[in-house]
């Protein structure tokens, strides 16, 4: 036992003596949360547009001012009839051009209808679609209020919509579980695999194996510091999410930490497994980055919803542990469910952890021969 504790102390010292890595380990979650909480957003506001007004009458001026005061649009450029539309888009100055034809008000009064052209820069199709929708909405609203004085249209089906679990539609609610999954994978899986591979590469692993320490003690000693670090990080992320961004914990906090612990165990066993197949640090790093981090970020439902992906990618997503973890965390924090709703996902994680441990043991034994 004393041997084990001594070994454990060495491992902790190794980590703490590297202040740069420590800063990064604790800095990454904080920075990620800040980025996803305050910076990354899909809300479109203050989009630069240009208005080409060939009429300059009261109606066009009113519509223009309604558009520009909506908060969605900002005047990037005032266009003159001679200006080349292509140039404006190619210079990337505006995202949309609103065009009123000549005699706009006149046509509206006389024929009862007039056209507004919305030219959108669809190189970013998502933004283009949203901007044209906003503009149409504002213009239709204007017609209803100003011209029709809110005439009641017949046979209205009124849809009352309730946005559940996230009334404010804050994107940070969706991201916090994903950030947790990513950070835990990073620390538990990647750093563990790198640490063990490093010992193998340096040759000090042989020295360890020649010592009275049993192999299981070596592995446990290597893994325990990262277990602790991961746990601290998980806690940090949750606390930051709750207190800085107002993400709720509707369900049981204990269950939340329990599931996080399970995920950390799974990730640690995965790290050990990687270290048994990687001959040196670089390979371990590569496998972790390309095989774990990248798929975690892209395919686990962290940012992009899984239902929208084509079938082959959805299948791949199912073998990624973070995908299940994210569902669990979202359920506990945002929907407030108990274990009865997430037992399936939990079983998947337990199964994966066992598989990785079993595979690691098998590989480890062979390697040590």
């Amino acid at each position: 036992m004393k041997q084990f504790l001594g070994f454990l102390r060495k491992e902790f010292l190794h980590i703490f003596r590297d202040p740069r890595t420590m800063i990064i380990i604790f800095g990454i979650p904080v920075v990620q949360l800040m980025l996803f909480g305050k910076v990354i957003s899909t809300d479109i506001q203050n989009a630069k547009i240009a208005i080409l007004d060939q009429s300059h009458d009261n109606t066009t001026r009113e519509i223009s001012s309604k558009l520009l005061s909506s908060g969605y649009f900002v005047l990037g450029q005032e266009l003159l009839p001679g200006d080349n539309v292509e140039d404006v888009f190619r210079q990337g100055k505006v995202k949309m051009i609103v065009t009123f034809g000549p005699e706009f008000e006149h046509n509206l009064e006389r024929d009862g209808k007039a056209d507004v052209q919305l030219l959108a820069d669809a190189s970013d199709p998502n933004t283009a679609r949203i901007l044209t929708n906003y503009a149409s909405g504002i213009i239709n609203d204007y017609v209803k209020k100003e011209k029709l004085q809110n005439i009641q249209l017949p046979d209205q089906i009124n849809v009352e919509v309730r946005m559940l679990y996230n009334e404010g539609l804050k994107s940070v609610y969706m991201f916090v579980p994903g950030i947790m999954a990513m950070i835990l994978m990073l620390i538990s899986a990647m750093m563990t695999s790198i640490s063990i591979s490093k010992e193998k590469e340096m040759g000090t692993m042989e020295v360890l194996l020649a010592s009275p320490l049993k192999p299981i003690q070596i592995v446990l000693g290597k893994v325990t510091p990262y277990l602790l670090l991961s746990f601290i990080n998980a806690l940090t992320i949750i606390l930051l999410g709750v207190f800085v961004f107002g993400v709720p914990i509707k369900g049981s906090f204990l269950l939340l930490m329990g599931e996080a612990f399970l995920f950390i165990l799974m990730a640690l066993s995965l790290g050990i497994l990687i270290s048994t197949v990687a001959p040196n640090q670089m390979v371990a790093m590569f496998i972790s980055l390309l095989g774990l981090m990248l798929p975690t970020i892209l395919l686990s439902g962290f940012i992009f919803p899984i239902q929208n992906m084509p079938l082959p990618l959805r299948i791949v997503s199912n073998i990624l542990p973070p995908r299940w973890f994210i569902v669990i965390i979202r359920n506990i924090m945002l929907k407030g469910t108990g274990i009865q709703y997430i037992w399936k996902e939990t079983m998947v994680l337990i199964f994966m952890a066992f598989t990785f441990i079993a595979l690691s043991i098998k590989n480890f034994k062979i390697r040590l021969e």
Partner: protein, 372 residues
């Protein structure tokens, strides 16, 4: 000059001998183009809807079948009880519940007004909004159909109508993959460049060959050039390979001048690789280099506008982005490939990338010591 030539020769030979690296150079563009571009989409494919029909009239059934018939919605289960619907959402089986209350048909016929309730799982706010707007338009269409059917009137024509005609330039199909592909290409070029360059430098340190190089008369700049130029070339090769793949797989239009793309590519890579070299001169271990680089690149990439528009970011973030080389290169790629922008349109990006490139390179040069 001859020294530089020999250094480059050595670097290329080393790359050729490294089978793992070669495989990566081919595989990574393929994987990124195929996986990333297809995964990163906001196009709504399918929303599972739970139907709570408390009216059970022919009208409510018509509405249900109209929703089910839509390519975006699938009604898997129905029930009489709204709580079952909420349960389904908690169970992660459905993401939307449509509640048709009792007397729906009767209210619509007698009083020209009826209510519907839509419960939407809003954890993913964007998908929720998109799903809701599709549902609203299906219901709106149903509304119009009813008016036509029952009242036998043609569509109600308001006295005033302003038609908004939308024209989508450069991407009339609104194909999101066309937007993602240049973004992924920029990411690809960055990752390959940084990875190869830092791997090569670290390997030299570990093998001890860096000491051998340091005792030769080789000048710092020649050594660093040897660590930059081959990988810029390889990264650009990957860029063209990626573009070719994008063209083949999703018909990405390449409107602008490819020469501009490659020219800016060189400028951008000099900056990024310079940054990578600088980081490896200040770090002690491989692990540190990897982590610090990962840290900075993660911030740069996320803020570059690859997944979410830069215009949606707060003002202070947009200001910081001015020193983000990935942001500028991303803009260049998208503008040249999709819109055919000329050099004159990209002066701002050119100046920014030049300053950044020069700064990072100078930092790397100054920090690098030929003595260990």
């Amino acid at each position: 000059m001859k020294t530089l030539f020999y250094v480059l020769q050595k670097e290329f030979i080393q790359v050729k001998r490294n089978k793992v690296m070669l495989r990566m150079i081919i595989m990574i563009p393929i994987v990124q183009m195929l996986v990333l571009v297809f995964a990163a989409t906001y196009d709504l494919k399918n929303v599972n809807v739970f139907l709570v029909d408390q009216d059970l009239s022919s009208t409510s059934r018509k509405l249900a079948s109209k929703i089910d018939a839509s390519p975006f919605f699938t009604i898997n289960n129905t029930s009489f009880n709204p709580e079952d619907g909420e349960n389904e959402i908690l169970n992660n089986r459905d993401d939307m519940v449509l509640v048709i209350p009792k007397d729906f048909e009767r209210n619509l016929m007698r009083e020209d007004k009826a209510n519907l309730q839509l419960l939407v799982n809003a954890i993913d706010g964007q998908s929720a909004q998109i799903g809701y707007s599709y549902a609203a338009s299906v219901i709106g269409g149903f509304n119009k159909d009813i008016i036509a059917d029952w009242k036998g009137l043609p569509e109600f024509k308001p006295p005033y109508q302003i038609n908004t005609v939308s024209r989508f330039w450069y991407n009339s199909e609104l194909e999101y993959k066309w937007y993602m592909a240049p973004g992924v290409l920029a990411l690809l070029v960055t990752l390959i460049g940084l990875n190869l360059s830092s791997t090569s430098l670290v390997k030299e340190k570990e093998d001890g060959t860096i000491e051998q190089l340091n005792v030769t008369p080789i000048r710092k700049i020649q050594f660093l050039a040897g660590k930059l130029i081959p990988f810029i070339v390889i990264a650009l090769f990957d860029l063209s390979f990626g573009l070719f793949l994008a063209r083949m797989v999703f018909n990405l239009p390449i409107v602008g001048n490819l020469g501009l793309v490659f020219g800016f590519g060189v400028l951008y890579l000099v900056g990024i690789l310079g940054l990578g070299l600088f980081i490896s001169t200040v770090a002690d271990t491989q692990q540190q280099v990897m982590f610090v680089t990962f840290f900075f690149m993660m911030i740069f990439i996320l803020m570059s506008g690859i997944f979410t528009p830069v215009e949606s970011m707060p003002q202070w973030a947009q200001t910081i982005d001015q020193i983000n080389p990935v942001y500028h290169f991303m803009r260049v790629l998208r503008m040249v490939v999709l819109k055919g922008s000329h050099f004159g349109d990209l002066i701002h990006e050119f100046v920014a990338l030049s300053i950044l490139g020069f700064t990072f390179l100078t930092l790397a040069l100054k920090r690098y010591r030929k003595t260990a």
